[in-house]
Amino acid sequence: MRKEKKVKDPRAKLGKLEKREARAGYLFVAPWLIGVCLFLLYPLCQSFYYMWFNIRITPLKTLYTYVGTGNFTQIWLENPEFPQQIVTYLWQTIVEVPIIVVFALMIAIMLNGKIKCRGLFRLIFFLPVIIVSGPVMNMLVAEGAASIPAMNTESIVAAFDTFLSHSLAEAIGEIFSDMIMILWYSGVQILIFLSALQKIDSAMYEAASMDGASGWESFWKITLPTIKPYILLNAVYSVIFLSSNEQNTLITMIQDAMFSGTKEKGYGYAAAMAWMYAVIVTLIVLLFFLLLGSKKDVYDRQIKRRKRALKKEARLVKKIERRGRRNARKIEQARQKRKYKTYSGESDY
């Protein structure tokens, strides 16, 4: 991404032309702005409000009963399915996203090399993006088309169960049994990596190999640092994709709760569920941001450290100078005082 050109100091008064320009800008984004207020901010506040109520819709009017945190306690204590699903979802996402990203990167690197029929392979790897949708996936999974028949899932689960917690082992087992589906989710990511890889300057690799770097070394020292932002991009994309996918049972649970006509469930209950879900999704995204966010590279850090050291030195020099000046002044004052004293003493005398 390019850096924005520095605009004028925002506090400075805008000229007439700039004012007009700003007005045009507002005009262009106005539809979206209205949309955000109408379809994002307003519903967000409203569902935050709903969360604390039990809402029943009768033909005449909607009844709101304040229940405080009642919805939450009900979800966590009386509905055993939701906490269970949340834990499964959490493990699944945290394990699956790295698999998707690493796999996409591997494929992209292979496709980026000198290869015949690159177009054909790209065609195959991108195909799932076109046809992947909740019902299709459900159908395929239900018919057993999603797992490789030769893979024995149960023994894998049993093996993991010996040294990991049961829920984690289950999640891993599920991953193995739906391996194809997980691979299917990486179509867009492969293309993003591929187009990022193609933008790396080949002169860098040449220079590195001139200096005797092997392919392995130049992968770690050139390829990976350059495409790091796209790793983050793909990780976030995968998280969002997995969490809004209809394979995810949580979102169907929310929908079911919303339309169930029972006394205790309903809009408020569903809103509480949705908020907890949103918080968890955001936490996962944050986790990946923390893990993959742009850390400064070594040289940047060195430069920074050097700058800091220089600044410290300058400060020290200034301090010494200041102290020197102060001392000089003090000495001067003292001398004058003494002079004065001696002088006044003399006069007194």
């Binding site: 390019r2 700003a22 007005r23 045009a24 800008g25 262009f28 984004v29 539809p31 979206w32 702005l33 209205i34 955000v36 109408l38 379809f39 994002l40 519903p43 967000l44 569902s47 709903y50 494929i107 292979m110 496709l111 090399g113 392979f121 065609l123 790897f125 991108f126 195909l127 076109i130 046809i131 909740g134 019902p135 299709v136 159908m139 395929l140 018919e143 088309a145 490789i148 391996m179 194809i180 691979l183 299917w184 993003i192 591929l194 187009s195 193609q198 933008k199 796209y230 969002i240 209809e246 979102i251 169907t252 929908q255 919303m258 809103a271 949705a274 908020w275 879900y277 949103a278 995204v285």
Partner: protein
């Protein structure tokens, strides 16, 4: 020998090439496996399904599965409706997202950074949070079960995955040389004229990308389509193939009860229905494959 397998600096070795091709072909097969499985199963009749000696190739080309599945899904009407359901919001998505992306990319105004932050936030936030009040809003307006539930958000730049599309246009228009826009301005074009005459014609690749992805995503969206456009409680006439597939078992059973289909629900009928529901997009993909695969590259998502 060693040089032949591992290769030299200038030339890749045969061993390495074999490994790469082998991996690619294996993974490619794994990718295609569900589709092949689906196709082969969908052509099997009852005897083939039970016959354990038949694994992949069905004995005869049995088309009755497709006929039954198509009649149960109302294939042609669902197809046309699906095209309308995906098509109209897609057009709006292209138009509005282009406007907004252009606005963000070319003008400097106060609060732009905050707005872009909000845009990213609206992408990360799961739609389930805002779904409940939005549904309430729609049902108060009386538009649940009509196409307006998709048109309205798209009209205001909040359609399905609109943040991604706005960002694509934003990235794209930032790469359009400013000189071009300034030249138009000097020639006396206003902001909108500059947009319509200079920016839009140059945005071909981005429009294509957004159009294709928007169409595909709307087409495959069953959760929101079922809830908003079809209306869960009051089933309206608006339904697309994917939603039909989701409710395939129940609709098939009712048809069976009324005696319209002769055979019982088997997995090959289900697979035939699945194949039918992805068929239109597959055709589109094979016709427009080049545009699809190169779209991400050309729309400049990865920047310069």
């Amino acid at each position: 020998m060693r040089r032949f397998v591992f290769g030299t600096r200038e030339k890749e070795g045969a061993g390495k090439q074999i490994v790469v091709y082998g991996l690619l072909i294996c993974i490619g097969f794994v990718y295609l496996y569900p589709i092949l499985y689906m196709l082969s199963t969908s052509f099997m009749n009852r005897d083939d399904l039970l016959d354990s000696s038949i694994n992949w190739l069905p004995g005869t080309l049995y088309l009755q599965n497709y006929i039954d599945a198509a009649s149960s899904m109302n294939f042609w009407t669902s197809l046309l409706k699906g095209i309308v359901i995906a098509g109209i919001p897609t057009l709006l998505n292209i138009l509005v997202c282009m406007l907004v992306g252009y606005g963000f990319a070319t003008f400097a105004f106060k609060g732009r950074a905050v707005m872009i932050g909000l845009l990213l936030f609206s992408y990360i936030l799961p739609s389930q949070v805002t779904m409940i009040p939005t549904y309430g809003l729609y049902s108060k307006m009386g538009i649940v079960g009509t196409l307006w539930t998709f048109i309205l958000p798209a009209l205001f730049g909040n359609g399905l995955n609109a943040p991604i599309f706005i960002l694509i246009f934003y990235q794209f228009f930032r790469q359009v040389p400013r000189v071009l826009l300034e030249a138009a301005k000097i020639d006396g074009a206003g902001h909108f004229k500059t947009f319509a005459r200079v920016a839009v014609p140059s945005a071909g690749p981005a429009i294509l990308t957004v159009g294709l992805f928007s169409f595909v995503w709307y087409w495959n969206e069953s959760y929101l389509t079922e809830m908003y456009v079809q209306g869960l409680s009051s089933k309206s006439v608006w339904v697309n193939l994917v939603v039909q597939l989701k409710n395939f078992e129940t609709s098939f059973e009712t048809m069976q009860a009324t005696g319209d289909v002769a055979i019982s629900l088997s997995e090959s009928v289900k697979m035939a229905a699945t194949a039918l529901s992805i068929l239109p997009l597959m055709l589109m993909y094979f016709v427009l494959q080049k545009q699809f695969v190169e779209s991400i590259d050309r729309a400049g998502i990865t920047g310069e």
